[in-house]
């Protein structure tokens, strides 16, 4: 059962690779069929929470067990993975017509899909690590296949950061294994209850680091911009919508399935929350603010949305780290919603790139009259992202606010408010510069994308409004997760969620919104009909204006705002890391120069020195 869902995609990957040579659409069709099949199978697993499976291996006389089990948390992530893969592979069937590496893309994409299923259903750290590495490798290959020259460098940066995280996790896993003799998460949890606080803290940070990296949290977020911005256009939705969430999955395992929080609870606490959990939440807050400020500055639309992803991940981490029933609910809700609206945004941008071939916002404009459906998708998605009712994004943000206010975490709340209002600014920039305004003369003949590429956008649009009106669907699985991790559930019904200081009823809000809209429409229709004129026929203070290109306000849209943060943005964390690396390289070089002299006598001296040290060591021990 579970193991099949991991290995079917991995085996299918080889077929996809070979068959794709015959026609560039075959690989994507195989991917979509496989993911549809697995999605269907996983839906059938709902409620079957006792399902588990093992693989027994015997390597050099050591018995190893790889454990896989189904639980509400894993199930949710499995469903999210399968649906994201399905939607993106449907999109890819048409969009990769001219992509040279499409065989490799589908090969890696299927393996990546299988490995994420493996990560989320693994119930021991060894299999989690194995599939985690497989995931990093395959996504690294996909990112480096991006069209831009920068793609390889970004992929490399992503890979190095992931590797650092993965190896600290590996060390932590072996430290635990040496004590318990088992890799299983359940036994680790038992073991952790008996150890000292310092030890437990070390283990917590070592285990959490790869997940924080993957989730794009503040000091290790630097890979996100490059990787999202330069990855193949079809992969960015997956990277942002789903792969960041796999980091959240890992963080949930560390914070909720392992009893770290109970061990640390006895140490310092701030307003009823252990300082270390608060630290995670604070990192989330910093992430939100940084992501927002940097997103507003971007001129490249994919990088802008990449920074927005960083900022939104901050919300999710804030919600999960404060570990109240409302916080957890809000974090998980926002995670699901972020998958939906961020995939929608990136798919809409991919459609734009498919037609125009550029990601620079100031090279476009006025695409709304050429690509209305893409525009509608983008508009719905940004309404959701900015958290405006009646879409899904508002509900999750509202729950997170309630959670922050309930506990009185003022500074976290300020960051959350900043990120939310700031998101109006950065999502409006592509809307205004790419879709609205003057159409560029070279884009005069652009058409809407083919039907197959529209299908995922329709589905996502429906989902955004559906979950905005009926949050009960998402809440039913979230309440299962809450009880699975031993947390009280939040009261909810199909249309309502009860916060700490007030309830939310989406049906009434939807009705009143519709009422207002209808009334406004009546006023508009009853008034006199207006005359349609062209976009160049506007008030120009008396100037003659014939050049659409010059008559479009797009470059440095928020210059007054950016001016306030110029000095902040100049302090690049990436550059700081790079200079650190350079300095280490310099020191290494210096050591090499003094040690490797090229003189035979000094090498003989090292050999003797080595034996002397060995002898002394042997004598002491």
């Amino acid at each position: 059962m579970l193991i099949n869902y991991i290995f079917i995609p991995i085996i299918a990957a080889f077929f996809a690779y070979l068959l794709n040579k015959k026609g560039k659409y075959i690989g994507s069709i195989i991917t979509s069929l496989i993911s549809a099949y697995i999605l269907y199978q996983l839906i059938g697993l709902y409620g079957n929470w006792s399902l588990s499976q093992n693989i027994n291996l015997s390597i050099m006389g050591n018995d190893l067990q790889l454990l896989f089990a189904n639980n509400p948390l894993s199930w949710l992530f499995g469903i999210m993975t399968a649906s994201a893969t399905l939607l993106i592979s449907i999109f890819t069937i048409k969009s990769q017509e001219n992509y040279k590496l499409s065989s490799a893309f589908n090969f890696n994409f299927l393996i990546l899909f299988g490995s994420i299923i493996g990560v989320v259903f693994a119930s021991d750290f060894l299999s989690l690590f194995i599939f985690w590495e497989l995931m990093t490798w395959t996504s690294f290959y996909i990112i480096s296949g991006g069209k831009k020259a920068m793609a390889k460098k970004s992929a490399y940066r992503y890979f190095v950061l992931s590797a650092v995280g993965a190896y600290t996790m590996l060390m932590a896993i072996f430290m635990i294994y040496s004590q318990t003799g088992s890799f299983a998460i359940a036994e680790t949890a038992n073991y952790l209850q008996g150890i000292s606080t310092t030890h437990s803290l070390t283990l917590m940070f070592m285990l959490a680091l790869p997940f924080l990296t993957k989730a794009g949290l503040f000091p290790v977020h630097i890979w996100v911009k490059g990787a999202h911005g330069n990855a193949p256009k079809e992969f960015s939705p997956f990277l942002s919508g789903l792969m960041l969430k796999v980091g959240i999955y890992g963080l949930m395992v560390v914070l909720f399935l392992l009893p770290f929080s109970k061990v640390i609870e006895n140490t310092l606490s701030y307003r009823g929350l252990s300082v270390f959990s608060y630290l995670f939440a604070l990192l989330g807050a910093i992430t939100t603010v940084t992501g927002t400020i940097l997103a507003i500055r971007q001129e490249d639309m994919k990088k802008l949305i990449a920074y927005s992803s960083i900022s939104q991940m901050g919300y999710i981490i804030m919600g999960i780290a404060i570990a109240t029933p409302l916080g957890l609910t809000g974090g998980l809700l926002h995670m699901m919603n972020h998958l939906i609206f961020k995939s929608a945004i990136f798919l809409a941008l991919a459609a734009v790139i498919y037609r125009t071939g550029t990601t620079k916002m100031y090279e476009m404009g006025g695409l709304i009259f050429r690509m209305p459906l893409t525009f509608a998708t983008y508009l719905t998605a940004i309404i959701a992202l900015a958290g405006i009712p009646p879409t899904n994004g508002f509900i999750s943000k509202w729950v997170i606010y309630q959670a922050l206010i309930e506990k009185g975490y003022l500074f976290l709340a300020v960051a959350a408010f900043f990120g939310s209002i700031g998101s109006f600014m950065y999502v409006f920039k592509p809307l205004s510069t790419v879709f609205l305004g003057q159409l560029k003369p070279q884009h005069e003949k652009i058409k809407e994308v083919p039907f197959l590429m529209q299908v995922p956008m329709y589905i996502l649009m429906i989902l955004m409004v559906l979950f905005g009106v009926v949050p009960g669907i998402q809440m039913s699985i979230i309440s299962k997760i809450s009880s699975f991790v031993g947390m009280e559930a939040v009261n909810y019904s199909l249309f309502t969620i009860e916060g700490a200081y007030g309830a939310w009823n989406s049906l009434i809000i939807f009705n009143i919104f519709t009422g207002g809209f209808v009334l406004s429409l009546f006023v508009f229709i009853l008034a006199r009909k207006s005359k349609l004129v062209g976009l160049l026929d506007t008030y120009t203070s008396g100037e003659y204006m014939n050049d659409a290109e010059a008559y479009h306000f797009a470059y440095q849209y928020y210059r007054p705002f950016d001016r306030m943060f110029d000095s902040f943005a100049a302090k690049s964390l990436t550059r700081a890391y790079e200079s650190l690396a350079e300095n280490i390289a310099k020191i290494g070089n210096g050591i090499r120069k003094t040690v490797i002299t090229g003189n035979g006598q000094s090498y003989a001296f090292y050999a003797i020195l080595f034996f002397v040290i060995l002898a002394i060591a042997g004598w002491i021990i």
Binding site: G387, V414, G437, F524, T538, Y558
Partner: protein, 298 residues
């Protein structure tokens, strides 16, 4: 059927009342500003004449997004109105929270922004970019103050917050938290786009920014939208800091007093540059608001 019909009539009636009240307030504001500038000023009913005239005129449009944006702006603000209690009219405010109202107002702003940028006039885009920047400036301290009030009174519904101040004038937040009230008043001036914070519409500079392309019914709907927005923002202030009211008359009078004060204070100052405005909001109101809320929490 009868039920739906009465609800619909109720809906339309309150919308018309608020739009009319808002236009009246706008007329008063024009008169006050004129008197401060030693002019005679237009009659107080001038905005009514303007709206009637505008709906009678022929208008031009720049495509469907221009229409859609205008409809969305007006529809969004009508929807917002029904979550704010107006005196004894609680409407649907029992289901509404403060945060909801702030975000519903954003629908109207987004609609207006989209429609006006859809006209293809760069002056409109500049105006919108300024308006959104300024919004980040004033919303942040405002939400911080709301955070404090919600935490203090353990409810986030506007109606509940107004009820919490019941029982005498000294229970009003104006007297219990005077600092927060003054801050919210300054923010209100920014929210309504009054004088020191009107860089986004700057008529002499960017041709009135967001409404540069609107004429005829489009401008008429924008005026109605503006008038209801004023009512929503004032009603929010009165409910949160002046204890609400038992009936619509005294509620309107409270709103009128706040409005006149805001107009007077606003017209004393020259226009801020956009980043100066944002810096101002983040320097004084935000810092003081954070200190105030820290007092409330601890």
């Amino acid at each position: 059927m009868i039920n739906i019909l009465t609800t619909a009539l109720h809906f339309i009636g309150i919308t018309i009342f608020s739009a009319a009240l808002g236009l009246f307030f706008m007329g008063i504001a024009r008169k006050i500003v004129a008197r401060i500038q030693k002019r005679y000023g237009p009659p107080i009913y001038q905005p009514y004449l303007d709206v009637i005239k505008l709906f009678g005129k022929k208008a031009i449009t720049h495509g469907f997004i221009f229409d859609f944006g205008t409809i969305m702006a007006f529809g969004g603000v009508i929807a917002t109105l029904f979550f704010v209690p107006l005196g004894a009219w609680t409407l649907y405010s029992l289901n509404g929270t403060v945060v909801l109202i702030i975000y519903l107002l954003a629908i109207a702003s987004l609609g207006m922004a989209m429609g006006t940028v859809g006209s293809g006039n760069p002056q409109a885009s500049i105006g919108i970019s300024r308006a959104l920047t300024q919004m980040l400036g004033y919303e942040l301290p405002y939400l911080v103050i709301l955070f404090g009030l919600i935490y203090k009174y353990q409810t986030s519904s506007v109606f509940g917050l107004a009820q919490a101040q019941a029982g005498g004038i000294m229970n009003w937040n104006l007297f219990t938290y005077p600092v927060a009230t003054v801050l919210a008043f300054v923010i209100l001036i920014g929210m309504t786009g009054k004088k020191p914070f009107d860089a986004m519409i700057a008529p002499s500079e960017i041709g009135s920014g967001p409404v540069v392309e609107s004429g005829g019914k489009y401008l008429g709907m924008m005026m109605l939208q503006k008038s209801i927005t004023i009512i929503v923002e004032l009603a929010l202030f009165v409910n949160l800091f002046l204890g609400g009211a038992d009936n619509i008359l005294s509620f309107s009078i409270k709103m009128l007093i706040v409005w006149i004060l805001a107009t007077m204070v606003g017209s004393l100052f020259p226009r801020f540059k956009i980043e100066e405005g944002v810096k101002f909001f983040w320097k004084w109101p935000l810092i003081i608001a954070i200190i105030q809320v820290l007092f409330i929490i601890y």
